[in-house]
């Protein structure tokens, strides 16, 4: 995942999350990634703003 542009310390913006634990779409820099729910759950985030 780090080679896809998502690594610790990256600022991400959640674009959408599908119903019924579907994939979460996040934007990190110039990259938009869709991540399966189970995988996304394991990402620790800190809320900015």
């Amino acid at each position: 995942m780090s080679s896809m542009g998502l690594r610790s310390g990256t600022v991400v913006e959640v674009i959408s999350s599908q119903f019924l634990c579907g994939p979460v779409t996040v934007k990190a820099g110039a990259t938009t990634l869709a991540i399966g729910h189970g995988m996304a759950r394991k990402i620790e985030v800190e809320v900015l703003q």
């Binding site: 080679s3 542009g5 599908q18 119903f19 634990c21 579907g22 820099g29 110039a30 869709a34």
Partner: protein, 578 residues
């Protein structure tokens, strides 16, 4: 003894940065390029004369890192292991709109001690997005040429080729992952400036089409309009272009030819077929030059053409990865993840490229399930054209029944396979590309290539199929097969035993097989059952071969057994329910 070693150019980079467009430009060979990661799953070779020297050019599947996670990435890594610094040059194609991430691979490539030249591709888009890159500073830092290019228009190509010889092997120390990111981060903040710009219509649409609610609405509309448009365009072409030609010009010409052949009835029957009321009837005559040519060119070709037009739009716009996100939940029910929708959609054109495209999936389990489901539930464009052609006369509902039954079988079998086949379905992890306008020239070339491919590969088989049918009829071979298969076909499916010959021919070409149903005078119910059985029963020989090649003998046997039992069950059920 001393054979000169072939010099090679390896096109490498992240997925969906335009390597295939580069390849087409360099070699003049058409390959399929689309706007989603993973449109190239196997490397393609071509040749180019560059600066007076002959190079082999290789379009390597895109990869994020040099440790493989899918079959396609494996191909890329293998390619790199076999590369030699004396004879090979790596052209690292980089997405300028996403510099930081792409440079990670650039550094990894340079660590391999190969000559690397960097193409800063999609430069035009970067400019539109207000991204300014100081490419001279980048070049200095890398120690090897970095050239702005726009592959779809050809901008920057001449410079790239001129400077190919300057590609340097610069010994880069092996970085740890952490270090590499730090170095790149520092570099990028120095050489790249991003202006803020207002959201474009595209960007608003990008977010809307993966919104949990609006995304579904958009997907529904996209499916409906795609299907309606394909049918509308194909029928229009048939009614105003193909039928007038075949009725007004081709049929009279054939009748004349028939006149010459009337002395040799055997040849007349094979080429022209039986005359109905003294005239050629394209659906009943069944000669190689009458029905054979008509099925292929006037019934199937218009659908193939309009299907690839719509598919091309979906591919190049960048919509497909978003559809994958929307359908991820559904696809997990059948043991796959959302991105499996891409091979599935390709299979609606022809099952062969669809099954090849399952290489983007991560595991063998997924590839087996996806390929089996494709062969069972996804009718190719040729088969669909014939189903619509034969059933269309009875209104829309019989066609809807066929599609519904196929979809239900697809879903039911997927659910069963998901619980029976050992393993699990991995989660989706997919890069979503921005929307782009399809580059017109590339779009046109892709359709042209696909149509040519279809005509070259399908026509001989169709004509040979019709020929074989005539020979088998005249030597009475069908009678033997028919009697043997009668209990199944008449007993369980309620079809006349003549339908056996059509199902047998389905192994060769499914469109010819459906064409053979037309003269049998079947009822609507019988037509529906035959169409369903033909779609599911056994793959055509081309699909069969590709499954064998891609999945191996054992998986092919398992897959075939599943297809046969599924079609027997579906046909029987329909016979008793309808």
């Amino acid at each position: 003894m001393n054979e000169p070693v072939q010099k090679r150019l390896l096109l490498m980079g992240n997925p969906n940065v335009g390597k295939s467009v580069f390849f087409s430009r360099l070699t003049g060979t058409q390959v399929i390029a689309s706007n989603y990661p993973g449109s190239t799953v196997e490397y393609t070779r071509g040749y180019a004369i560059v600066n007076g020297e002959k190079y082999e050019v290789i379009d390597v599947p895109g990869t994020y890192a040099l440790c493989p996670t899918s079959k396609a990435e494996e191909v890329a890594c293998k390619m790199l292991q076999d590369a030699s610094p004396e004879n090979d040059i790596v052209i690292n194609v980089v997405d300028s709109t996403n510099l930081e991430r792409n440079l990670d691979l650039t550094l990894q490539l340079m660590e391999k001690d190969l000559p690397v030249i960097v193409a800063l591709n999609i430069w035009d888009d970067a400019k539109h997005k207000g991204i300014h890159i100081d490419h001279k500073a980048l070049e200095e830092w890398l120690g090897t040429p970095a050239i702005p290019t726009t592959a779809v228009t050809g901008q920057g190509f001449r410079t790239l080729i001129q400077r190919l010889g300057q590609a340097k092997r610069k010994k880069v120390r092996a970085h740890s992952l952490e270090d590499r990111w730090k170095d790149i981060g520092k570099l990028v903040s120095r050489i790249q400036k991003i202006e803020h710009h207002h959201h474009t219509v595209f960007e608003v649409l990008e977010d809307l089409s993966i919104h949990p609610l609006f995304g579904l609405v958009i997907a529904g509309f996209a499916a409906f309009f795609s299907f309606s448009f394909i049918r509308f365009l194909a029928e229009t072409l048939i009614a105003h272009v193909f039928d007038p030609f075949f009725d007004g010009i081709y049929a009279p010409a054939l009748m004349k030819l028939g006149g010459f052949l009337s002395g040799v009835p055997f040849i007349h029957d094979i080429l022209i077929g039986k005359l109905i009321d003294g005239q050629i009837d394209y659906l009943q005559s069944f000669g190689v030059l009458s029905t054979g040519v008509y099925v292929e060119l006037a019934m199937v070709l218009p659908y193939v053409l309009s299907f690839y037009l719509v598919l091309g739009l979906l591919e190049d716009s960048g919509y497909l990865p978003r559809l994958a996100v929307m359908l991820d939940n559904l696809m997990h029910k059948v043991g796959l993840h959302g991105f499996a929708i891409v091979p599935t959609l390709l299979a609606f054109g022809c099952n062969v490229p669809g099954i090849l495209a399952t290489r983007v999936l991560d595991s063998k389990r997924e590839r087996f399930i996806a390929s089996t489901l494709i062969s069972i539930g996804i009718p190719c464009a040729a088969l669909q054209a014939m189903i619509i052609g034969v059933l269309g006369a009875y209104g829309a509902w019989p066609i809807a029944v066929v599609y519904l039954v196929l979809f239900l079988s697809w879903a039911a079998l997927g659910t069963i396979l998901n619980s029976l086949v050992k393993g699990f379905s991995p989660e989706l992890l997919l890069e979503i590309p921005p929307y782009r306008l399809p580059p017109l020239r590339m779009f046109y070339l892709k359709i042209k290539w696909r149509i040519k491919q279809f005509l070259w590969e399908a026509t001989p088989v169709v004509l040979a199929g019709v020929f074989a049918v005539n020979i088998m009829y005249s030597v009475g071979l069908f009678d033997i097969i028919s009697s043997a298969a009668a209990p199944l076909v008449t007993g369980l499916w309620g079809l006349p035993k003549e339908a056996v010959s059509s199902i047998a021919i389905g192994f060769l070409r499914k469109d010819v097989a459906v064409g053979m149903l037309a003269p049998l005078g079947l009822t609507v119910k019988q037509l529906i059952i035959s169409c369903v059985v033909l779609s599911m029963f056994f793959p055509c020989i081309a699909t069969f071969t590709v499954i064998l090649k891609e999945l191996g003998f054992k998986a092919m046997l398992a897959s075939t057994a599943i297809m046969i039992s599924a079609s027997v069950a579906a046909g029987t059920l329909l016979n008793f329910v309808l």
